[in-house]
């Protein structure tokens, strides 16, 4: 469609257009290339023997029967890897927490890898893994924050890491309550549990390592290939140029593919030992136990306010369950929660404390939103509880407390030295949401329906949420173990006038190849179809940070724009020289370069790009290969997407079944590069957020046995289980990058759960229900309603 517009002589802007994706063709016809699709000659298959105990000493591992089975090449335990370091990421100060590549003496969660079986194919590996006999001496199990902290109260209580002498890692200590809280006319206290979830990308974890004499090549389903390459070279003590990491097509990540898993280090080690490529590809059940979980946070909140609904002070203690082998990202989740606990509200005094708690469970790390869904949940539930306490409209309480549009940059009360909200218009987003919902009419409808016993109970829930995205300013990602917080982009123009853009991010469904080509196409003037964007291979891009923290457009897109501007400037100089005109008189389009006033005289992009390699054709001061620009883009600040979501539920008065009747979203992500892609991200995030609120919960029993380790019991919803979404938008561009774009990848997951729970609690307000933890299952709702029998 943009081509047609171009042919009519007009140039339609690519940025802002719903351009269809470059990524689709291969994926649509089954020619995608995911890790398990790749077959290397001679490759072996590795699979883990996993602990069936949540906490135990390993007494013995008997591999005799398994080693003799067909196709088995080797079976290893930690003793075979005594020369290997621990998995990288945590600082030296917490050395006892450094995770070995296989369990060493003790297993700490069900699923903890104890041994690795290497066989000719996955069928043989599965048979042999079953035949390995492990003898355990069980230890007391601490499967939750509560049990782990309770053990701390007893000097003889279980310490999951005896050398650490504690299960609790205080990050921000608690301070006494501020006078503004103690003196507030009214106070509320509530504990909010943010339920443990699993990211469940449809593609489970997989990696292939091929260590040849010339070096190591790793294909990994991962969100940050350079990060993995950098750490692999340190881990094995090899130079960077001897290690190549490729993230081919990646089947979803949602944060669970940023962390380092044992197989990323074991597969190369085994490949080196055996001289053959080694593939590891998990089953779903393995992935449910092994891939890091998300959320699993408890927030103890106290809020002081007055009769107008104005908040005077907020106090939050965040307890983050970091699981059994704390991950650097997992350790930082609560920091983000702390920063973002005030949300979109001007709260004069905010006190936050954070304690990371070690438990005998799967480690917890980033999952879409990574600490911010927890923050938006606690503050948005708190605002509703205040409204409920005062008998005020929840929208009114929000308007009373919003940060206003003229108050940016706004220092967050939780960390005024370091966290500055960039831009936003929170009242306008709520105005737009209310308009789209028909809010006032809904209130009237609710009164009528709830008075009619034959109608489902109706609930209306709002979520005025804030996100922190566009990771990030210098220092922000280094804290999570990354090389930097910048992002890199390189643009090269080939002699035929086409552009190759190499980006340091590593997408897994976001459509960056399309969006980046839109940005580059507009900024350079080159045809969208003449731009090829590539990522995910350390061979083609010197260094990159990766895709996480909703940063690709904000940080990498900005890099691409800057590189594009450089290319365009140089190309114009060359064209001006060729056309014997002044650079300021050159007009650029996908057709090429023309002199203003004499449109018939042109040079194509191919002409100019060829000339760029031919010094005799170039102006003074320019040399061959000049149409090549690399930018390492540093951004001055995070960006802060925001929005207002509304949920309307109907609750069956007898069974407690919750049905979402409408779900309305208003997003502010600043400048929108591609509305189709932006909306797709919102839909996906909202679906995961609704699912957390109603369906998903990864649970353990008192012995640390997982109860939801398959998709039969861990309830990822299908199309028939979710509503459709009504999407709206407001736009407040960000000043932190040249695009004005804030990012949107995690927004849906941040904003969606509170709207659902607020709606459920609203529907049940007649029963005196003040709060309900997620997921709001029918049985929970039934209990909250007083277990009605429906026999009246």
């Amino acid at each position: 469609m943009w081509q047609a517009a171009h042919q009519r002589g007009k140039r339609m802007s690519l940025v802002g257009a719903a351009v269809k994706r470059k990524e689709d063709p291969n994926l649509l016809v089954g020619r995608g290339r995911f890790v398990d699709d790749i077959k290397l000659p001679g490759a072996l298959f590795m699979t883990f023997v996993r602990s069936t105990e949540a906490h135990a000493r390993i007494l013995s591992i008997d591999t005799n029967e398994a080693t003799a089975m067909p196709g088995v090449v080797a079976i290893y335990t930690i003793d075979d890897f005594a020369d290997l370091p621990t998995i990288p990421g945590l600082p030296p100060e917490v050395a006892p927490l450094h995770r070995p590549v296989l369990a060493k003496g003790t297993v700490r969660f069900v699923g903890d890898p104890v041994a690795v079986v290497v066989a000719e194919d996955r069928y043989q590996a599965a048979d042999a893994a079953e035949a390995v006999l492990v003898d355990y001496d069980p230890l007391p199990v601490l499967p939750s924050i509560d049990t782990s902290l309770a053990a701390m109260a007893d000097p003889e209580g279980t310490r999951i890491y005896p050398d650490l002498q504690t299960n609790a890692l205080p990050i921000f200590p608690e301070e006494p309550p501020a006078p503004e809280l103690l003196n507030a006319p009214m106070r509320l206290a509530q504990t909010f549990i943010n339920n443990r979830c699993s990211a469940v990308p449809i593609e489970p974890l997989a990696v292939i390592a091929d260590w040849a004499p010339s070096g190591l090549t790793v294909h990994a389903t991962f969100q940050a290939p350079h990060h993995l390459r950098n750490q692999l070279t340190l881990f094995f003590g090899i130079p960077q140029h001897e290690c190549r990491v490729i993230a081919p097509d990646v089947g979803g990540g949602f944060g669970s593919k940023i962390c380092f898993y044992p197989e990323f280090f074991l597969a190369p080690a085994i490949s080196r030992k055996l001289g053959r490529p080694v593939k590891a590809a998990q089953t779903r059940t393995e992935a449910m136990l092994h891939m890091h979980h998300g959320r699993a946070q408890r927030n103890d909140v106290e809020v002081g306010f007055d009769a107008t609904g104005k908040v005077h002070a907020l106090r939050v203690h965040t307890y983050q369950d970091v699981g059994s082998y704390p991950d650097p990202t997992g350790m930082g989740l609560g920091v983000l929660t702390s920063w973002m606990s005030c949300g979109v509200y001007a709260i004069p005094v905010a006190q936050t404390a954070l304690t990371n708690v070690i438990t005998n469970t799967t480690p917890v790390a980033a999952y879409r939103g990574a600490g911010r869904p927890e923050a938006s949940f606690l503050i948005e539930r708190t605002m509703d509880m205040i409204a409920d306490e005062l008998g005020l409209d929840p929208a009114a309480v929000r308007y009373t407390n919003f940060i206003q549009a003229d108050q940016f940059p706004y220092p967050a009360a939780t960390n005024p030295e370091a966290v500055f909200y960039d831009s936003g218009n929170y009242p306008a987003a709520l105005d737009e949401l209310k308009r789209m919902m028909g809010y006032d009419a809904l209130l009237a409808e609710q009164t009528a329906r709830n008075a009619d016993p034959s109608q489902p109970l109706m609930g209306i829930g709002l979520s005025c949420w804030l996100e922190i995205a566009g990771f990030g300013p210098n220092g922000s990602l280094e804290g999570f173990g990354h090389l930097g917080s910048w992002e890199s982009a390189q643009i090269r123009i080939q002699p035929d006038g086409t552009a190759i853009v190499s980006a340091g991010t590593s997408p897994h469904g976001q459509g960056n190849a399309t969006a980046f080509a839109q940005i580059a196409g507009d900024a350079m003037g080159i045809d969208f179809d003449a731009i090829h964007v590539r990522f995910g291979d350390t061979e083609t891009q010197q260094q990159g940070i990766g895709t996480m923290g909703s940063r690709a457009i904000a940080v990498c897109g900005d890099a691409i724009k800057k590189a594009s501007v450089q290319i365009r400037e140089r190309a114009v100089q060359i064209a001006a020289h060729m056309l014997e005109a002044a650079p300021e008189d050159i007009e650029v389009s996908a057709d090429g370069f023309a002199v203003r006033g004499t449109p018939a005289v042109t040079k194509s992009w191919a002409d100019v790009a060829t000339a760029a390699f031919q010094p005799l054709q170039l102006p003074e001061g320019m040399g061959a290969g000049t149409l090549d620009a690399t930018v390492f883009n540093e951004v001055p600040n995070f960006s802060f997407p925001s929005g207002a979501y509304g949920c309307i539920v109907g609750i069956d008065r007898v069974t407690g079944d919750v049905n979402i009747e409408r779900y309305v979203v208003v997003d502010d992500c600043g400048t929108v590069i591609n509305p189709l892609l932006a909306e797709g991200q919102v839909h996906g995030g909202v679906a995961q957020g609704i699912s957390q609120a109603l369906y998903e919960h990864f649970t353990y029993d008192e012995n640390g046995q997982p109860q939801t380790s398959t998709l039969v019991d861990y309830l990822v919803p299908a199309a028939s289980d979710l509503p459709s979404y009504e999407s709206g938008r407001i736009v407040t561009p960000t000043p932190v990058n040249s695009l004005g774009a804030k990012g949107i990848g995690e927004s849906g997951a941040v904003g969606a759960p509170p709207a659902v729970v607020n709606a459920v609690v609203d529907a049940l307000s007649g029963f005196g229900v003040r709060h309900m933890d997620m997921p709001c299952t029918p049985e929970k709702v039934w209990h909250a309603m007083g277990q009605p029998t429906g026999s009246n």
């Binding site: 994706r21 089954g30 449809i202 779903r284 998709l711 990822v716 979404y725």
Partner: protein
């Protein structure tokens, strides 16, 4: 080992397989048709959906020996419609952004093709109900529904 003869995307294939070989592994490992994906081990996710004897099935829950003597169509076997680059369902997914990471897509497309074969003009509710056996983690499903509606509207009349 058992011999199987399965017509896949119109081509005759034959191999000796262990009877426990899942059809999805026969397609992926034996034939190298890696478009069909594995996403779970409890028959929930539908990423492995192919057509067996003209009907959508979960190839992870069918043994290759059960498909012996029958015809299988995988994502690689879909044919473009006249005037389109792809089968109308694939074209619809492209028009309406029905895919993001693409991992669930082959199975999702094959399920949608089967739906439209049986019900050429489904309602939104019928589409969602028909896809209750296919999980997607990226799209939130709405654009998948839009894609099927597009395909239903634009597919050449049979």
């Amino acid at each position: 080992m058992t011999e199987v003869n399965i017509s896949v995307n119109g081509a005759h294939t034959s191999a000796e397989v262990a009877p426990r070989t899942l059809l999805v592994h026969y397609l992926r490992e034996e034939l190298g048709l890696t478009g069909t994906h594995v996403g779970c081990d409890t028959s929930n996710c539908g990423a492995c959906t192919v057509h067996l004897d003209g009907q959508a099935v979960k190839s992870c829950t069918v043994l290759a020996v059960q498909a012996d003597g029958f015809a299988v169509t995988t994502i690689e076997g879909l044919q473009p419609a006249e005037g389109m680059d792809y089968h109308p369902v694939q074209q619809g997914f492209h028009e309406c952004h029905g895919l993001q990471c693409g991992y669930c897509t082959p199975g999702m497309v094959m399920a949608c093709v089967a739906l439209l074969d049986e019900n050429p003009h489904p309602t939104e509710v019928e589409i969602r109900t028909s896809l209750e056996g296919n999980l997607c983690r990226c799209t939130g499903y709405q654009m998948i529904v839009d894609s099927v509606l597009w395909a239903a509207e634009h597919a050449p009349a049979k």
